[in-house]
């Protein structure tokens, strides 16, 4: 039997799973939509991975990252639960040990990570607002009636991108509607959107940070050729986009899981696992904490959300 390690990245929009071997090679991977239900998404993800994984492999450790990391960590009894910033950095470093800057734009979050000699030097995340992230782009795509995956191609066609105020989603939307009504071409509006995402990112997340090459761009939005083009144009540097860029978080957490193996073996058979969460509001004080109780096979494993520590 060969040993392998599973890393799962449960984001707000998509759920990614990767299995690596002892030499950090990707054995198999899967990518599905979260659709607001991380527990179901992970169950489906594991089903897919199970069919893809060759029989001679045995999972020795599991790691979770992403916004639902704690919940899924409990569900799978993961050996490592880490935040996505660290996971992304480690994942990228295993393939690109010389990288200096990681730009990342995901569904809800955007971040910048600065690396020197293989150590994270500094990082920054967007200020708790979804302006200029993936969900912003896809909602604008819907408004324009274009598939978000084709955004890149449209943007590349444009010669004069339209100026769009992108400081805030609400403003951007009204500006966009206005520009569309005035009669600008679709390509130019889309190119303008892509450009505004880049400008917004550099003005907000990248402010005051020295962006040194090699630069790697990842996250869902990195698949958008238009955004990549404007990053290149504005930074005047080459931008690397890895074909596995959307999996970097999952790879990173798998690498961390490898380092933290506990010795036990994990199975991907989860069909019969009963995993439930019950929400209720505590009224013992005026804090009115929204509590979440988590049951694994009808057994209470944890409860979250308490401010006073009673639970």
């Amino acid at each position: 039997m060969k040993e392998c390690y599973l890393g799962i990245d449960i984001g707000s929009i998509s759920t990614k799973g990767v299995i690596i071997d002892n030499d950090n090679n990707i054995i198999t991977s899967a990518y599905i939509w979260t659709e607001g239900n991380p527990v179901e998404a992970v169950k489906n993800l594991l089903e897919i991975l199970k069919t893809k994984l060759p029989k001679e492999y045995q999972i020795k450790s599991i790691g979770t990252t992403g916004s639902a990391r704690k919940l899924i960590g409990l569900m799978l009894k993961a050996s490592v639960v880490k935040n996505e910033i660290t996971a992304h950095a480690i994942g990228t470093l295993t393939f690109y040990p010389n990288v200096r800057t990681i730009l990342e734009i995901g569904g809800q979050d955007s971040k910048i990570i600065l690396i020197k000699n293989g150590i994270i030097q500094n990082y920054a995340m967007n200020t708790l607002c979804a302006a200029g992230t993936g969900s912003f782009l896809s909602s604008q795509a819907k408004r324009l009636g274009i598939d978000v995956e084709k955004f890149g191609d449209y943007a590349l066609k444009s010669q004069n991108p339209v100026k769009i105020a992108a400081r805030c989603t609400v403003f951007a939307e009204s500006d966009l509607v206005h520009k569309a009504q005035v009669g600008y071409a679709k390509e130019d509006i889309i190119a303008g959107l892509c450009k505004s995402v880049v400008l917004n990112y550099l003005n907000n997340v990248g402010k005051g940070k020295k962006i040194i090459s090699p630069i790697i761009f990842q996250g869902g939005v990195s698949k958008n050729k238009g955004v990549v083009k404007y990053f290149k144009e504005i930074l005047k540097e080459d931008i690397i986009v890895d074909e596995n860029s959307h999996l970097m978080g999952a790879i990173g957490i798998a690498v961390l899981a490898k380092k933290n193996k506990t010795g036990s073996t994990y199975s991907l058979e989860l069909k019969n696992l009963k995993f439930q969460t019950k929400a209720f509001e505590c009224h013992r004080c005026s804090n009115s904490c929204e509590l979440l109780k988590i049951y694994r096979n009808n057994e209470l494993v944890d409860s979250w959300g308490s401010k006073c520590g009673k639970y």
Binding site: N83, I120, Y123, M125, C285, S286, N287
Partner: protein, 354 residues
């Protein structure tokens, strides 16, 4: 009988309560209910649009006190727009139909004895000045002792062997402090508790992480408004250094300002309002004294601190130290803060290892 109340800030309600109840024999001091999510909800509802967060917290507490039939509310602060709080809050409360007075004891950031005397006379025209001076003296001592003990706790709580021992002892101490009668008793209690705190067993490794917290004063001192940042850091076994406390603001600030100015003359020449200049100097101090990282917290729209931020950024990049900026608002999501803190901790650990 008039009833007076004041908004919360950290544990300082104990000395404040002590002082007021001793000066005014004929008035009742109402203890404001603890800040909860309901407080901030109330405050936000009646506050103007782009106001800084302390306004919302204090307004929320005031409304809760008025529900308990308070007549006079006491507000302190100045130096930035904090000094404008009292009149506007009075106006808002009046429009809501409450009958009350809001008194601001400090104006422009400098306590002025004449002014305070005038205001205290409004509460009770026959109050005794000598008594007031005597009890203020005890109160200020109490604040000083509390701050000394808090500093000790901050440095050690991350490394306690028995979980909760610091917090339990501190709660005990606060209860004892609230029943103090005179200075001798206060001093004795303080010494006794200081001893007890020193006796709590801690395990401090040599390569521990050290973080300095700087930023806007209210957000730093009221743990609810910074989402219990210090507690979170303690869970990661980090030694915390914090400069701002009431004793500093009242007695040390004026003295230290000149020192700070000399120390960091490369970065600022003039006072920049509130604690902005102080924070720049502290940032330099933390960078030069082996701290691993700096966390800068403020409420959103805090103008003086916004002015200081580019300079703090510059210092940090010269010394190559990471800084984490937080800007808290009433709508800040707690999970977002936790993720950022966790990542910050991971980063510091990785930097330390190499």
């Amino acid at each position: 009988m008039t009833k007076i109340a004041f908004p919360h800030m950290g544990d300082y309600y104990i000395p404040a309560n002590f002082l007021l109840s001793h000066i005014f024999k004929n008035t009742e001091v109402i203890k404001a209910p603890k800040i909860t999510s309901k407080t901030i909800e109330l405050g936000t509802k009646y506050s103007p649009e782009f106001i800084c967060t302390p306004f919302k917290y204090t307004l929320g507490t005031m409304i809760e006190c008025l529900e308990k039939n308070a007549d006079i509310l006491i507000q302190m602060g100045g130096g930035c727009r904090y000094g404008y709080y009292a009149p506007l809050q009075e106006e808002i409360l009046k429009n809501l139909g409450y009958k009350c007075k809001v008194l601001n004891l400090v104006s422009e950031g400098e306590p002025n004895l004449k002014r305070i005397n005038k205001l205290l006379k409004k509460i009770d025209p026959k109050y005794s000045k000598i008594k007031a001076l005597y009890y203020s003296f005890i109160t200020f001592k109490m604040v000083k002792y509390m701050d000394i003990i808090d500093n000790y706790i901050r440095e050690n709580i991350g490394f306690e062997i028995e979980k909760g021992s610091f917090e339990n002892l501190k709660n005990q101490m606060l209860v004892t402090f609230s029943h103090i009668k005179n200075y001798r008793e206060l001093k004795r209690t303080y010494k006794r508790y200081l001893n007890k705190f020193h006796k709590i067993k801690v395990h401090k490794p040599d390569n521990r992480l050290k973080i300095g917290i700087i930023g806007e004063l209210y957000t730093i001192m009221e743990p609810f408004s910074n989402y219990y940042l210090e507690k979170q850091l303690a869970q990661y076994h980090i030694e915390i250094k914090r400069f701002t406390n009431v004793h500093y603001l009242l007695f040390e600030k004026a003295k230290k300002y000149k020192k700070y100015q000399k120390y960091s003359k490369d970065y600022f020449t003039y006072n920049m309002g509130a604690d902005a200049a102080d924070n720049i100097a502290r940032c330099k101090y933390l960078c030069e004294n082996g701290y691993d990282g700096i966390i800068h917290i403020k409420s959103s729209f805090c103008t003086p601190e916004i002015g200081a931020m580019p300079i703090i950024n510059k210092i940090a990049s010269t010394y190559q130290k990471p800084v984490l900026f937080f800007s808290f608002d009433s709508a800040t999501s707690e999970t977002g803060i936790k993720t950022r803190l966790e990542a910050f901790y991971d980063m510091l650990e990785m930097r330390k290892e190499k």
